[in-house]
Symmetry: C2
Subunit: 103 residues, 2 copies
Amino acid sequence: MPKASAKTSERRAAVIKALGHPSRLLIAETLMKGEMCVCDLKDLVGADMSTVSKHLTLMREAGVLNCEKRGLNIYYSLACDCLGDFLRCVDKLACGGKKTTCC
Amino acid sequence: MPKASAKTSERRAAVIKALGHPSRLLIAETLMKGEMCVCDLKDLVGADMSTVSKHLTLMREAGVLNCEKRGLNIYYSLACDCLGDFLRCVDKLACGGKKTTCC
DNA sequence: CATCTATTTGGCTTTTTAACCAAATAATGG
DNA sequence: CCATTATTTGGTTAAAAAGCCAAATAGATG
C-alpha cells in the first residue's frame, strides 16, 4: 500500500469520485457484464446523451474506463476487473446503517 | 453481489462519495492504523476544526466511520476493515493513467 | 459530396459541496 | 457553579458538479 502523499491522495480521490455518483456507479456496475456503447448507457441511465457522455469522459479521465471506437459507436468498458472487490467493501459499509450520532 | 436498485445505488454512492475527497480519504487511510480523536485529525488534515468535524459527520452518516466519546475527546475509527481491498483496487485504477481521448 | 447517426463540446443555470467564522453544547476540573 | 477544553451546529460565501440544450465533429453510407 503506497504511502499517501498529497499527490496520490488527489489521484485516488479522483478515481473514487468517478464512482461516487449514482449514475456513474450504475454505469460501472453494468459494465462489469461487458462493454456497452454510449447510446445503450444513455438508455440505462435515463439522462440526456450529453450528460452521459460527460460522465463517461470523467470516468475515462480518472482511469476507470477504457473506450474503443468501432463503426459509428464508441464502446466503453471497465479498465480493471477489481471492481467486484471494491463493491464488496462498499456494500459492507453501506449495510452498516446510518448512525446519526456517536453517543 | 446485490442487484443495483436505485435505492442501493444511492446508498453505495454515498459510501463512495464519503471517501472521494482528498481530506476524507486521508482521514480514512490514517485511521487504518487505529482510532484518533478529532483534534489529531484536524492537525493531520490542516483545516479548520469545524470543517474536519463536518467531514467526520458525513463519513459516519455514510457508515464509513464509528465514533466513541471518552472523556472530553471523541475517537473516530473505521467501521470496516475492508478498506485495504478497496484501496488496492483504487490504486490499480489510479495508476492506469489518464487517457485524454479514446481514439 | 450530401446526409445520416453517434458522440462530444460549449454555454448556461441550478444544485451541491466545501470552507471559514462565530456561537452553542458537553464533559471536566477547580 | 465557573472556567476550560473538545467538538458540533448554524450561517454565509465561494467553488465545483450536474443537468439540459444547441451546435460541432467524425465516420459511414447512398
